[in-house]
């Protein structure tokens, strides 16, 4: 079954969606959408590093994403608003990464595959990494769920309950980096943030509790992955953008639904 490239693509897409969606809920609740974007852009630098040093990409991407996270928290509050810091760092990292990839590696590297994903070329090994990463992120999210929610609601409230919000935030950053690392192959650097934010946003009007939102987002993400792949196959469209478009279509539907119900 795994011999079929479409089956592998579908499995990879669903795997990434299942990990990205619950994490994406925290990204939405904590207003970290741009932070997700910056982490994803930093990943290009990681890719360049990995290619230059001829080491595996995954740890390098994680490293670049973590470096980005600490740069963001280090610069925020020093006279710059968070969105300015993110705007500067995200685009600088992307630009630098693109130059590095172009200069450091031979020209056979397909830059487009990193920017927009190459889900139809997912190998068995890629699939193993994707699902390994996705399950790790999902596990972390479920394990730290209550503490993460507390830290998201109010850091002081969390501390009064013996939870260290900074530790939880670090866990969230790690999980984000991991999702970025495994999602590059599926949707590419430029559209990863969409996979985090859109399913969560689409789920919001349907639910009354945080858990319901995470589950609904995961389902919407998985459906988007499958629908996007189908659309890509049917209309010969690029797969990564098709997945994001499917998610966006679901967002439009649930938002309209909410408007009709008068909420």
């Amino acid at each position: 079954m795994l011999d079929d490239f479409l089956v592998r693509a579908a499995l990879a897409g669903v795997g990434v969606a299942l990990a990205a969606a619950p994490l994406g809920c925290f990204v939405v609740w904590r207003r970290m959408a741009y932070f997700g974007e910056a982490t994803a852009h930093a990943a290009v630098l990681g890719v360049a590093l990995a290619l230059a040093l001829e080491v595996p990409m995954l740890p390098m991407i994680l490293l670049a994403a973590l470096a980005m996270a600490s740069a963001v928290s280090g610069l925020t509050g020093r006279g710059y608003a968070a969105d300015t810091v993110l705007g500067v760092l995200a685009h600088s990292a992307l630009a630098l990464g693109l130059i590095a990839v172009a200069l450091l590696t031979d020209t056979r590297i397909d830059l487009m595959a990193f920017l927009f994903g190459d889900i139809l070329a997912v190998s068995r090994a890629d699939l193993a990494i994707t699902w390994g990463g996705a399950l790790a992120v999902l596990g972390l999210t479920i394990w730290r769920w209550q503490a993460l929610l507390m830290a998201t609601l109010n850091p002081d409230l969390a501390r009064s309950a013996g939870i260290d919000p900074r530790r939880e935030e670090f866990g969230l950053t790690l999980a984000l980096a991991a999702v970025v690392a495994v999602a590059i192959k599926v949707v590419g650097v430029l559209l990863i943030a969409a996979l985090l934010v859109i399913p969560a946003a689409a789920a919001r009007p349907l639910v009354r509790t945080p858990e319901a939102m995470a589950v609904a987002a995961a389902i919407i993400g998985a459906v988007s992955a499958l629908a996007g792949l189908w659309g890509a196959f049917e209309f010969d469209a690029p797969a990564g953008p098709s997945i994001v478009c499917a998610a966006a279509a679901i967002f439009v539907v649930t938002t309209l639904l909410a408007a009709v119900r008068g909420r």
Binding site: W29, A147, L149, N154, D156, L157, R208, T209
Partner: protein
């Protein structure tokens, strides 16, 4: 006298290079209601945060009784509109609790039947009481409230403070709160701690209201809560003292 539940010993706090609190000595014992008063920016909220462990002391230390259960009501709790949250679910943080425990806590806080409402749909008074209910979930030995009646009208805050007193007598917990409602504070507290970067004065409401340090901060009320209350709303021609009415939020 029983051992203190929480104590600050020579506590000093620096935040961003600014001295917020210096040399604060303070204790709270079981069953006491202690109120912290002081001008804006005097370090009231910071003191509470230091006591719950959210802010690290730069000098001195905070001592807590072994295994102390804390209930904390923060000054501000803004729940992002993107975060769906029923009252019942909110009370199930950080530990999951049964529906009966949720109903009991809401009842104790004086707002039964709210469990299925969304947090964002609550009125200001309901919201504060839900925060109180959450703080009561763990059967705390000490309840710390940071301006719990902010944004409530006078009857609303009076009712809230009555609730606190009832909770204290039902549960026997100590209560430490920051407040701007001076007249209510004077009526409802066993002890008042007046701070302005340091402890200005401390004692029963009567003693504090008569202390020159307190008068220097809050004006020249003659004696006790009633005088203070009148003072806030009537004439006072003695303007030689700094004169504040503190109704806005403390940064």
């Amino acid at each position: 006298m029983s051992a203190p539940l929480i104590a600050a010993r020579g506590l000093g706090i620096r935040l961003d290079g600014r001295e917020i609190l210096t040399d604060v000595d303070f204790e709270i014992r079981p069953g006491e209601i202690v109120t912290v008063v002081g001008p804006n920016g005097s370090g009231k909220s910071t003191l509470l945060k230091a006591l719950i462990g959210a802010v690290k002391p730069s000098a001195g230390r905070v001592e807590r009784a072994e295994g102390l259960r804390l209930g904390y009501v923060p000054q501000k709790l803004a729940i992002d509109a993107s975060l769906p949250m029923t009252v019942g679910r909110f009370l199930s943080l950080p530990r999951r609790v049964s529906a009966e425990a949720i109903a009991a806590a809401l009842d104790k806080a004086g707002v039964p039947d709210l469990a299925n409402r969304q947090m964002k749909d609550l009125s200001g008074g309901q919201f504060q009481r839900v925060l109180l209910a959450r703080a009561l979930m763990d059967r705390p030995q000490t309840l710390l409230l940071d301006e719990p009646t902010q944004g409530l009208d006078q009857p609303g805050s009076a009712a809230f403070y009555r609730r606190i007193e009832e909770v204290r007598s039902e549960m026997g917990c100590a209560v430490l709160m920051v407040s701007h409602d001076l007249h209510v504070v004077m009526a409802a507290s066993d002890r008042v701690l007046c701070i302005n970067g340091h402890v200005c004065c401390e004692g029963t409401p009567e003693i504090v209201a008569g202390a020159p340090e307190y008068r220097a901060l809050f004006g020249s009320g003659t004696k006790g809560a009633l005088a203070l209350y009148r003072h806030e709303h009537s004439h006072d021609h003695d303007h030689s003292h700094p004169h504040h009415h503190h109704h806005e939020a403390d940064a």
